[in-house]
Structures are given as structure tokens and as C-alpha cells.
């Protein structure tokens, strides 16, 4: 079935020449400084994104878009959040976990994006509208990528 190639977790690893404490702090406290907003955002224009309490929120003026909710937050070690940018009310969001592991004098940062399989199965069972699936998550990026 075609979903075989599309439902495995997406895993990314990157070595960062910074202590886990620094890497974690920059990821969670300063996402607005490094996130490529000019290419990946819900709103167009001078938009910002930040971890606000247990949510990741993009703001432009008085508009807000919740990209996800924080599920786990272990300082200098791990952050896990739901992920549904562009779809604030997504019932079945995918999930992203980022772990920070000491690696020599730096940090190995591992990002795992999961949930495609679950989405696919539930859509198949007719419980989730395709609207909540990952193509919808991607749709906003398309407007910028085109």
C-alpha cells in the first residue's frame, strides 16, 4: 500500500557544538530567533513564534496560531510536543520529540516526528477527516514554497 513509504517516523540527527543546556535553552526559549519564519509560517509578514507556557504559538499583531502543545519538558534533555501548524483545532495532531544528549564536547540533537501511521489508520477507519492529516499540515508551507 502506498502509505508504507509515508507513515514511518521522520528522524533527524544533528551534532551541535554547544552544551545540552545551551542547546535546549536556544531551542525552547529562542525559537523565534532561529525558526525560518520567512519560509515556514502560518501568517505572512512580520510574524513571531515562541514557546508560551505549554503551547507553541505564532503571532502576528492580534492574530495567533497554535502550532502545538507541549507534552513533555525536561530541561537540557527532552521536549515533546504535538504538531499541527496551520490547524489550531486539529484533533489528531502528529507529535515531535526532540532529545538533547551530551556528545563529546557538544550535543547530539535528535528530532523524531511521528503520528503518520496513526493518522492514516484512523482516516481509513473514517474517524478522522482527511483535513486533519499531514497534507493539511503541509499546505501552509506550500504557499511559501511555490
Amino acid at each position: 500500500m502506498t502509505t508504507m513509504t509515508t507513515t514511518e517516523a521522520i528522524t533527524k540527527e544533528i551534532h551541535v557544538a554547544a552544551a545540552p543546556e545551551t542547546a535546549f535553552a536556544v531551542f525552547t526559549q529562542r525559537i523565534g530567533e532561529w525558526w525560518p519564519l520567512e519560509r515556514f509560517s502560518v501568517f505572512e509578514g512580520d510574524t513571531t513564534v515562541a514557546f508560551e507556557g505549554d503551547r507553541i504559538v505564532e503571532r502576528l499583531g492580534d492574530q495567533e496560531s497554535v502550532w502545538g502543545e507541549v507534552l513533555a519538558f525536561e530541561v537540557a534533555a527532552r521536549v515533546r510536543f504535538t504538531w499541527h501548524p496551520g490547524r489550531p483545532g486539529a484533533d489528531e495532531p502528529t507529535e515531535v520529540e526532540v532529545t538533547f544528549t551530551a556528545d563529546g564536547d557538544g550535543t547530539l540533537v535528535t528530532l523524531v516526528h511521528t503520528g503518520w501511521e496513526r493518522l492514516s489508520e484512523e482516516r481509513r477507519a473514517g474517524r478522522v477527516d482527511y483535513d486533519n492529516g499531514w497534507p493539511a499540515v503541509l499546505q501552509r508551507y506550500a504557499e511559501l514554497a511555490a
Partner: protein
């Protein structure tokens, strides 16, 4: 870029419903139209856009024209998301390393 066209094609909820109807196997236009609150001409139009975006292929089966999901198209979308995280993480790495240098 093929994936950008595929993403654009999927920007329409009805078109996503049409694609969803093909996930369990090939179907003809009429079968899809019966299962959705969409007219046959509209289904044909959506299929044409999906085909141009590389998400759907068609073949003739006797008197019927059957449409099916093109796995290569969906793989392209996945690659796009993969590249998206790669770019975000590269940008994060630069910021974290700049912060580390600043602290030292």
C-alpha cells in the same frame, strides 16, 4: 518544483477527499462521484489537477478509465517535510553554536 505543486494541489479539501477515495485502490470517476457530494465533472477536474501534480496516475481498463494514487508523488511530499526539518535544525544549530560562543 514537483512537491510544491503537489502541496498546492492538496490545499483544496475536496481534492484531498478525492485523493482519499483512491487510497484503497483504483477507482473510476463515477465511483468517486457517487461516494462524495461532488459532481462528476468536478471530480474529473480535481483528478486532472492531482494528475498534473504527480499524485495520481490513470490507465484505461476496457471502457473505464481508472485512477490510482501515485506512490512516487506521496514520497515526494514526505521528502519535502524531511527537508523542512533539516532546514529548521540547521538554522537551530547555527543559533545554539553562536550562543555557546557568546557564553565562553
Amino acid at each position: 518544483m514537483a512537491y510544491a505543486q503537489a502541496l498546492q494541489a492538496l490545499g483544496d479539501p475536496t481534492r484531498r477527499s478525492v485523493l482519499e477515495e483512491l487510497r484503497d485502490g483504483p477507482r473510476a470517476v463515477g465511483e468517486i462521484a457517487r461516494r462524495l457530494p461532488v459532481s462528476r465533472p468536478a471530480v474529473s477536474q480535481h483528478l486532472r489537477v492531482l494528475k498534473e501534480a504527480g499524485l495520481v496516475t490513470e490507465r484505461q481498463d476496457g471502457t473505464r478509465r481508472l485512477y490510482r494514487v501515485d506512490p512516487k508523488g506521496l514520497a515526494g511530499l514526505r521528502e519535502y517535510l524531511d527537508g523542512f526539518w533539516e532546514e529548521a535544525l540547521a538554522s537551530f544549530k547555527a543559533a545554539a553554536e553562536a550562543e555557546e560562543r557568546r557564553k565562553k
